[in-house]
Every structure is written in C-alpha cells, then in structure tokens.
C-alpha cells in the first residue's frame, strides 16, 4: 500500500440533494457534492484551479429556505441543507441564462453548450434580430495567441489566472461596466504594449475558445482543425529544471497546442511562455 501524507482530516457533513442523502467533506461546494453524486450540472465560469467566481449563473440550484437560487459552484454545502437541482425554477433560470448568453455571444466553440441549449429548450433567437450582441472582432496582435472577444462570456477566469490566483502578472482586467464591460489591458492598449508575458495561462482556463493558440485559430479559419484526429501526450518541458508537465496536442505529427494537467503538483495547469509556446523548434523539420 502506498502511504501518502494526509492533511488535517476533514469532517464529513450530511445533507440532501434531490431528496437523496449526500455525505461530503466540510468545505465542499454543492457542485462538488452533485458531481460526486453523478449529477451533471452545467457550468461555464467554474474552473478546477480557480476560486469560484459564480458569474455565469448557469449552475444555479434551489436551496430550501433561500429567497433566490444559489450558485452550486460556490455555495458550500451545509449540514441539513436541502438542495434541489432540477426544479422548474432552476431549469427556467438556466434556460434564460443560456439564451441571454447565446443571443449576445458567439458560443460556437464553447464545449457542451449546444447540448445544454437543446436540453433546456433554449431559444436565443426569440430576442429578435436586433438583440444587442458584443460585436467584437478577433484581436490578432501577436504570433502566439488570439483574443476573440466576440466569444467572451466575461467569466473572469482569465483575469483570475493572470492575477493573484496564479500568474500575478495582472496584464488584464475587466474594464468598463455592464454590457459594455470587456476584458482589457491597461489603457485598452494592444497586448504587445501591456504587461502580458505570454504564459498562456489565460488560454488554459478560457471556457469558450475566446482565447486560443494562434495555431488553433488559423487552423479553424482554414477548416483544418480536427480534434478527433488529435492525440494528447503528457511529457516534461525541457526549458528549465522546474519540471513542468506539458500535454502536447498533436495533429498530423504537428504540435498544435500545449496544455498542462490541472491536477499536476508542479504546474497546477500553469506554464510559462517557453513551455506553452516554445515547441516550434522540434518541428523545424526542414
């Protein structure tokens, strides 16, 4: 048997989800408990390496005694809590949130969203042809990655990854307010004039494809991007002695994207510019 060091033992607490008993360690969120119970709650802004921001509100559930719905991703489970995940009320809000997003943002590269739109019978078109949209053009201002803010749901994950939760570079923030709020660098400057260090840790957490490798962006534009033909192989970066784990996404023997496992003890999903983008030399094959 392998002995792994355990932290301070956590108490278990009991509550009910959809009438069934759930037992989870103290500090777990409702979403953790739902996932442990095999329930599939849709989420967009939740990230496994980030503190919940609960901005998208697509994961809302009903909690007995609560005036409003609560976000499963951030609300901690409490003893005796009665959670209902699939009530008409919760489903209504999820449907509307999906409709509001789909009617204002390009969700074409957001995984699973098409499935959810169908499941919740969302009809984003019903807001009419004049419904306000973001109407942003992709920003291609460097050779490494592209910011296509027409696909941005403003989940704050990139801001949090760039900021105090991981990278501490603080190159981006949300600027402006309300529907006009956008992710921006200081003074709305191009990325190349900003504090950005091109670690790509924002791409790693982006849930919609608004941030993508230039290689992916170009291949999608050319119609050659095909994830079914890609392999993912995890190896170790060769650029310094820290030992970051890289997952190389390879299509037709070309590295097209690099990620890192989010549960890796060295990286927690983060890389630097060299690890994320410095792979080209192996495929300068002449």
């Amino acid at each position: 048997m392998t002995v792994t060091p355990l932290g301070i033992p956590r108490r278990l607490l009991e509550f009910t989800i959809d009438g069934e008993q759930a037992r989870v360690p103290e500090g777990s969120t409702i979403l953790d408990a739902c996932r442990a119970a095999g329930k599939d709650i849709p989420t967009l802004c939740e990230g496994d390496t980030l503190r919940p921001k609960n901005a998208c509100r697509v994961c809302v559930v009903e909690v007995e005694g609560s005036r409003t719905l609560v976000p499963a991703c951030s609300r901690k489970a409490e003893p005796g809590m009665e959670v209902r995940t699939d009530t008409e009320r919760a489903r209504h809000s999820r449907k509307i949130v999906l409709e509001l997003l789909a009617s204002s943002v390009d969700l074409s590269t957001t995984p699973r969203v098409a499935e959810w739109l169908k499941e919740y019978e969302a009809k984003p078109d019903r807001f009419g042809p004049d419904a306000g949209r973001l109407n942003e053009e992709p920003r291609v201002d460097n050779d490494l990655y592209v910011r296509d803010y027409d696909k941005c749901i403003l989940c704050y994950k990139c801001v949090d990854a760039c900021g105090d939760q991981w990278q501490n570079t603080f190159a981006i923030s949300v600027a402006g307010r309300g529907f006009d709020a956008r992710i921006a660098v200081e003074h709305d400057a191009p990325l190349t004039d900003s504090a950005c260090v091109y670690c790509g840790n924002c791409i790693e957490v982006c849930p919609t494809g608004a941030l993508s490798f230039k290689s992916e962006f170009d291949m999608r534009a050319a119609g050659t991007w095909d994830e079914s033909r890609q392999t993912e192989t995890t190896t170790v970066c060769a650029y310094c002695g820290v030992g970051c784990n890289l997952t190389l996404h390879v299509q037709d023997n070309e590295i097209v994207k690099v990620t890192s496992p989010h549960d890796n003890p060295v990286t927690h999903g983060n890389l630097c510019i060299k690890g994320r983008f410095g792979y080209q030399h192996v495929q300068n094959r002449g």
């Binding site: 719905l69 609300r75 204002s104 009419g128 600027a175």
Partner: protein, 610 residues
C-alpha cells in the same frame, strides 16, 4: 510586485495631485527622481507587504487626479499605480468602472444633468437641449445626462464640477437653462444652494426625532450641536457599555432603513461577537436609489449626528475605524462632514481616547464616483478596497468577512441616526413608536407631482394617503412609485396602504428606502418604464449574466412595446416576465434581483400596455 509601466509620464499637475494625497514619493522606485540623493535606493528597496497594502488609496487617488485635471491620463494612472504598487490594468478596470471618471480627455468642466424619473417629469429633456444649445460647441463644458442626483425635491437638477485646485462644484436646482449654464461656466459665482432645511417642509416642528435639528442648528458648529442634545447619546452609550448598547438597539426593534429591513441589533451583535479582528464600521451614504435624498439632507443639515451615531456603532461592535462611503455627487454633504469630523477630532470626540473613556475611534470619508451598485454593501467594500465595485457572493456575510475580509457592520445613514433617540429616550419608549413590527420614525423622500416635495418624518404606520396629503398631492394622481427604481408602483386608489414593512409587503409592494414618487396622468408610463430599464442597464456592474444581459433584453423589449398595447405587446410582456423571473432568481445581488420589479408592478398593477 513586478509591474509593467508604459512610456507615458504624468504632467507636473497630475504628479502634484497624487503627491498632495499621498505625500512625496519615498524612493526612486516609487517615482522620485533618480539622482545622487537616491543612491541608497539602488542598494536597498522595499516592495513587499507594506507596498502592496495601500490598494485602498486607489479610489482616492483617482479622485485626486480627476478633481485636479478633469480626466485620468495614461501617465497619471501609471504614476498613481507606481506610487501604490497597483497593476495598471487593474487600476484601468477600476477607473473605467465609475461614471464620474473619464480616461479620455474632456473639458475641465462637466455639467451633470439629471434625466432620471423626477427630473424627467420636471422637464429635464428640454433643460438638456436648452443647455446644449446655449453653450454651443467648444464651450469648454461637457454636458452629461445622468442618473438621479438626489435633488428630487428641487427637480430638475444639474451639478457642475470644474476640475482644478481646488475642484469647484455648483448645484443648480431647480435648474433653468440660464442658471445651469452659469453654474457650469462660473461655478464660483453661482448662487449658493438653499439650506438643507428647505428640503424639510416639517423643519422646526415639534416631535421630530431624526430631523429635529435640521434647520435649527448651525451644521458647522459642534457647540450648537451639543447645545441641542448632541453627544448625550454617546455619553449614555459609554454608561451602558457595548453589550448594553446592543441590547438597547435590539430591544428598540430598529431595523435597517436601506431597504432590506434587517434587525440592526442582531447585525451588531453578530459583528461584535466575531473573534477575528479588527472589526470595521461602514456607513453607507452612497444614496443612489433614484428618488432618494433623505441621507443627503441629514448629512447636510445635521452632520454631527452621523459622526456621533457612527462613534456609538463603532463602540458597540468593537470597531476602531469607521468608513463613511459618501456618494460622489454630494459635494455639500462632503464639505459639511469633512468639517464635522475635523471638529470632532479637535475636540477629542474622535481619536484615541474619546470622552476620556479609553475608547479609540476614528473615521474616514471615502467618496463614491458614480456607481449605483456601490450602494450594495459588498460592492461598497470592494470599492473602498480599491477594486471594481462588484458585489461579492454571500455567504460569507459582512459580519463575518466584510471590509478587508474582516468582520464589518454596515448601516446606512438613516439607520445610524436612529440610534441617537434610542439611547436618549430608551428602547421601550422608542419601541412604542410605530407599529409592533415596524418601530420608530421613518423618513420619506416625497417628490413628483406634489406641492411640497421633500423629506418627511412620520412614525411607522401612517398611510400613504396621509403622507401624500401632508406633501400636498396634486390632482390627477395616476400612480405612486414606492422604493425607487428597485421598488414598485401602486395605484392612486391604494392610498390606504400603511407605510410599514409588513403593511407594504402585504400589499404586494415595498417600502424600500422610503421613496414616494407621485405621478399624474400627464407622464407617459412607457417612457417612465423605459427610463427605469435604462437606469438598470447603465448601472449593472456586468458581473453576472442574468443582470448584464437581462437588463439589456428588458430595455430592448420595452423599446419595442413603447408604442404598443394589448395583443401587440403581449409577446414581449411574456418575454419580459421570463427574463425578469430569471434576473430575480439568479442574479448575484439586489440590483439584478430587483431590476424588473417596477416594470412588473406597472404591468400588473397599473395595467401598463393594456
């Protein structure tokens, strides 16, 4: 922190504005000149915790620049960031959050003209057009249409702000084109605002508990305040001890006057008992609900009352530092309170040893900068801390993790001022006022089609009709908006609604923050609703989807049906209901949760679009 700065440099003016707030930079790394005097800087530098812990000076710093120059340039922002060790991108996010700031060049003088409910009904659109025509192009004045300025009793209102050293402001209300233009072009020679007491039709009457000093005392004079009963409550508080004060407040039945009606004693007790320290006291004076102006009148007319009440609240809850978060559009309240705090400090009524009781308490004013959302308690914390004024998710609640992550009690101005009579008259006598579940006196901001708009103080339990009669409601009343944009409409035949928390709730409406806005049948209802929808769209912080996009969809639908009724509007009304329900259920904070209330009540109660 390894911050990145561009090439933009601050002007001497901008640098001076920041240095006036923060003092001169201590090292060349912070922006001092890199000369021989600073050779030691190249051997030893500090950039750690202390340098990072000054983030809460960001908002005051942005004000300092904006006040001096009128807008915030790249160079000025970078310099402020260097001084405070704040990432420029984050500071940019903060600067662009607030309506009073601009990161684009603009004239030094900005004339804010209110186009909100009361002012719109009082001719604001014509006023704006007239001002723009009179000023003409290149006038050096930027005219901005904006939300409620809290001057509804004198609608229509305009506020001129001229950047400089010092910044000048002038209020014109009720504004005419000529007066507004004068205020903007020569703020120093604009006529002085009428005294606060003019906003209190009851001023000087007997029996007032909250407004009794307004118009009676000199708001600048501490002695006059004390001559009128000032600081007897604090003395009583020291005699009772913190637990005794909390017991009195609990027994008085006082509940929060900001709209949520949470029992104040319970909130204080919950904060006082938190093991984590320090505790903070925050006074929410970010009075931004359209139609509300009672806190302004209190602060302008009786500023020491708030200082004393905050001291008592701090004492009871174990706080030694209080923050007064004041609406950025309230220049006179700012001056009165700055003066009052200075006087109190000079007399030992703030500071290390108040009244010789060994209790230390001091307070700071933080100015808002044009964001309704900052009236939400956790958004207000973020704003003070130097972040975007976005609400936090609850739990954890402020009593546990509030300002700077510490236990914090937050009350609005009216709530705090109620503590004074509670302590001077005793909880039982106070609790005898009003109804069983709504005790004490209540302030109402009456505006719209009434003869005597202003702040009224009545015991809980008076009916809407009694209040409107007092204010001299005009003929042809069509509807009354209770609680402001986040509240709801009632009909002219519902004037017997008792003005209590439980009474309004039973009637299916809300007391909210005490807005009572009367509309006669000359005001087109769809335009009113559209204005409310615009307000929420403008003021949504953008953090959560239901509110950020929902308020836009709501406004779009109301646009579509502005001229429609009946079957032609039915589809969009159904859509509004669906979106409204999701906003109410799934938004993070009260802004989104209430953004559909007024519209819904207009449809259901007033039969709008029928």
């Amino acid at each position: 922190m390894d911050l990145h700065f561009g090439d933009s440099k601050p002007t001497d003016e901008e640098r001076a504005a920041v240095d006036a707030l923060l003092g001169p930079p201590e090292s060349s790394w912070e922006g001092a000149a890199r000369d021989e005097m600073r050779a030691a800087d190249l051997r030893w530098a500090r950039g750690g915790r202390a340098a990072r812990d000054r983030r809460d000076l960001l908002l005051p710093g942005l004000h300092a620049i904006n006040d001096r120059v009128g807008w915030i340039s790249d160079g000025a922002l970078d310099y402020l960031c260097r001084r405070l060790t704040v990432p420029p991108a984050e500071a940019y996010g903060v600067a662009t959050f607030y309506a009073l700031f601009s990161v684009r060049p603009r004239p030094a003088t900005v004339l804010h003209v209110c186009t909100d409910l009361a002012c719109a009904a009082a001719g604001a659109p014509e006023l704006c057009a007239g001002i723009e025509e009179r000023l003409g192009p290149g006038s050096g004045v930027s005219v901005q249409r904006g939300p409620c300025l809290g001057l509804c009793e004198r609608a229509p209102a305009a506020l001129a702000i001229r950047a400089g050293d010092p910044v000048r402001t002038a209020v014109s209300a009720p504004a005419t084109v000529a007066e507004a233009v004068l205020a903007a072009s020569a703020p120093d020679s604009a006529p002085e605002e009428p005294p606060a007491a003019l906003a209190v039709p009851q001023a000087g009457q007997d029996g007032l508990m909250l407004l009794h000093r307004v118009g009676v005392v000199d708001p600048a004079s501490l002695d006059d305040y004390r001559a009128h009963g000032g600081y007897t409550a604090l003395r009583r508080a020291f005699a009772l001890g913190p637990a005794g004060v909390i017991r009195e407040v609990t027994d008085s039945g006082l509940v929060g006057r900001g709209g949520a009606a949470f029992p104040t004693g319970r909130k204080w007790q919950a904060t006082a008992s938190q093991p984590d320290h320090p505790h903070y006291l925050v006074c929410n004076a970010d009075e931004s609900e359209p139609g509300t102006f009672k806190d302004r009148v209190l602060m302008e007319g009786d500023p020491y009352a708030l200082v004393e009440a905050m001291t008592i609240a701090g004492y009871a809850t174990g706080a030694h530092q209080g923050y007064l978060y004041l609406r950025g559009e309230y220049p006179r309240a700012l001056h009165r309170l700055e003066h009052a705090i200075g006087q109190a400090r000079a007399r030992g009524l703030l500071g290390d040893d108040i009244l010789g009781q060994g209790y230390a308490f001091d307070m700071e004013i933080r100015r808002g900068a044009g964001a309704y959302i900052c009236g939400e308690e956790t958004a207000l914390f973020n704003s003070i801390e130097g972040y975007r004024g976005e609400p936090r998710s609850k739990p954890p609640f402020p009593v546990e993790k509030g300002l700077f992550g510490k236990p914090t009690v937050e009350n609005n101005v009216e709530t705090l001022v109620n503590v004074l009579p509670i302590l001077t008259m005793g909880a039982p006598a106070y609790a005898a006022i009003g109804t069983g579940r709504s005790t004490g006196p209540k302030l109402y901001c009456v505006s719209g089609t009434v003869e005597r708009p202003g702040v009224y103080e009545l015991p809980f339990g008076a009916t809407l009709g009694e209040l409107l009669a007092l204010a001299g409601v005009r003929d042809g009343l069509r509807a009354v908006l209770l609680g402001g944009a986040a509240g709801g409409f009632v009909r002219a035949d519902e004037l017997d609604i008792p003005l209590t928390f439980e009474g309004t709730r039973e009637a299916g409406t809300t007391l909210g923050s005490g807005v009572v806005m009367a509309f006669d049948d000359t005001v087109p209802l769809p335009r009113l609703l559209l204005r409310i929808a615009e307000f929420f769209r403008d003021e949504s912080c953008g953090q959560c989807v239901p509110c950020r996009v929902g308020t836009v969809r709501q406004e779009e639908a109301l646009h579509r049906i502005a001229e429609r009724t009946g079957a032609a509007a039915a589809g969009d009304i159904a859509l509004l209901r669906e979106v409204g329900r999701a906003m109410r259920d799934a938004s993070i904070c009260g802004l989104g949760q209430t953004a559909w209330n007024a519209v819904e009540s207009a449809i259901d109660r007033l039969g709008a679009y029928e």
